[in-house]
Amino acid sequence: MKLFGDIDLEMALAVWRRNLTVYRRTWKMNILPNFFEPVLYLVGMGVGLGSYLGEDVGGTAYVAFIAPGLMAASAMNGATFETTYNIFIKMNFARVYDAFLGTPAQVQDIAFGELLWATTRALLYGLAFLLVTAALTVAGLPILTSPWALGLPLVLALTGVLFAALGELFTSLVKTIDLYSYYYTLFMTPLFLFSGIFYPVDRFPHGAAIAWFTPLYHAVRACRALATGDVGVATAADVTWIAVVAALAFAVVPRRTRAMLIR
């Protein structure tokens, strides 16, 4: 089946399948940290810090305020790790893609297959977080207070697509693995701190206006809206923003990656 940009879905799925084959051998070891992370943040920040904050932040318990945003960040991290270090190593050290390219697979198929896989990983990270928050909700914390929460996996997947596309875009531009520390320190960390996960973005002057141009902000807002049921036009706008920017970022990846692999 051919998709936009001459992507052969069968080839992309073969790439996805290769990654699944590797992951299947290690998932038991890898999946556990996906559960630790939300527990650590929710207990450390939500319960620990939250007990000093009372019920002021966003009009709810602090742990309930930060949980949806952390869920989005968790999906972001899953997709980002896959499309930065992992792809760089497969492309430049293991030369795995050269072997793929010796088959009918083309660069755009590989890029799309990796996007699907990174999204899968993001979804796994996000769903692990969602499960923990669901358990805490059942235990009495007001985190998932609306049936709209059923839509969270969709937003987590979209968040995965977005950060997979951004990660692939960065990877298609860098020639040395050292540059990723800039991506993590100057891009990922500020996103984590200033996208409204821990406090509303208008804490800083023009905070909301600036945040509108950054990716995690929209994912955090969409997740929070679905968790609390405060869904509206703004939520639709957030989801649209994510989809459009993901498509724009991914659109340039195959050509840039081709320049690296086909010489």
Binding site: E10, A14, R18, A99
Partner: protein, 311 residues
């Protein structure tokens, strides 16, 4: 398309990287079913030519048709690659997979699933003698096993043209022998075989015809025995130059042969009649040793370029 369509047709094929001209306007035609080798020293342009054939490099200039399809524009790459089996020079096996998983994963890239894939994996495990290592991780295999797995992986799509870039470089003699056996079997299946090598014995053993490359050009092309006949001689006598000089016999030795060259501290005497010339040479050397051997493609390269294949 008929089977008369050549496997490869190249006209004025060239490729440059910046100021470096890697391939400098070469012409060649490889008919279907032939085993064709590119022989030459490192940097001769063999691998660049191969990369253009297996579509890992865009054509720089000239024209390239593969199985009648257009490889110049890149437009037919997917269709071309569906009919090629590519065995790369460097080890690009997936270290995180087992032998069986490697073949299974690549079945999907060749659109094989289910029973068809299982049958293909089975067949290739036998072909590569890797059945008892099927569930070993690739990282645990020896160099020879890895190369056999790479060959097996390249055969999954039942290719019409098998492309091997330096298939035995870095292998020990036994592993090389075993790989040669596999490739000979492949030849009998009448697939077109295209390989590069800087080992003359490999080219002579496997190739119906070879193109000898130097500095981006093809300096000569033909069947190995014909090239040896034409550019060298069936027999070659080697004498250490130091021995020839101390016997004061350099000129006398040179007169015994139809042609001569000196290379790497040795005097090489080219002759049709090896035994008669050997007798004359030994007489001239007065007890110092001489060595009689068959002419090889290395002699052809040496005669044409004045240099050896190693540099």
């Amino acid at each position: 398309m008929t089977t008369d369509t050549p496997a490869i047709e190249a006209r004025g094929l060239s490729k440059r990287y910046g100021d470096l001209v890697a391939v400098d306007g070469i012409d060649f035609t490889i008919p279907r079913g032939e085993a064709f080798g590119f022989l030459g020293p490192n940097g001769a342009g063999k691998s660049t030519t191969m990369r253009m054939i297996y579509r890992a490099s865009p054509v720089g200039g000239g024209e390239l048709r593969i199985l009648g399809l257009d490889a110049t524009s890149g437009r037919d790459d997917r269709a071309i690659k569906a009919r090629l089996g590519v065995i790369h020079q460097e080890d690009n096996l997936d270290q995180e997979l087992t032998v069986r998983e490697t073949l299974e994963v690549f079945c999907r890239f060749h659109r094989l699933r289910g029973a068809a894939a299982a049958a293909k994996v089975d067949e290739l495990l036998d072909f590569a003698d890797l059945r008892d290592r099927a569930d070993s991780l690739v990282i645990t295999l020896s160099g020879g096993m890895k190369r056999r797995l790479m060959v097996a992986r390249g055969l999954i799509g039942d290719p019409d043209v098998v492309v091997l870039d330096e298939p035995t470089t870095g292998l020990d003699p036994r592993a090389r022998q075993s790989l040669w056996d596999k490739l000979s079997r492949l030849k009998r299946r009448s697939a077109t075989l295209i390989l590069t090598t800087h080992y003359m014995d490999e080219a002579e053993r496997l190739c119906d015809r070879v193109a000898i490359m130097d500095k981006g050009r093809i300096v000569t092309v033909g069947a190995p025995r014909d090239l040896i006949e034409r550019h060298a001689s069936p027999s070659v006598i080697e004498v250490e130059l130091a021995d020839a000089e101390s016997a004061g016999a350099v000129e006398a030795l040179e007169r015994t042969a139809e042609a001569h060259a000196s290379f790497g501290g040795r005097l090489l005497l080219y002759t049709r009649d090896g035994e008669a010339t050997m007798a004359a040479a030994l007489a001239a050397l007065g007890g110092r040793p001489a060595h009689l051997r068959r002419g090889t493609l290395e002699d052809v390269f040496l005669r044409i370029t004045g240099r050896g294949l190693d540099g």
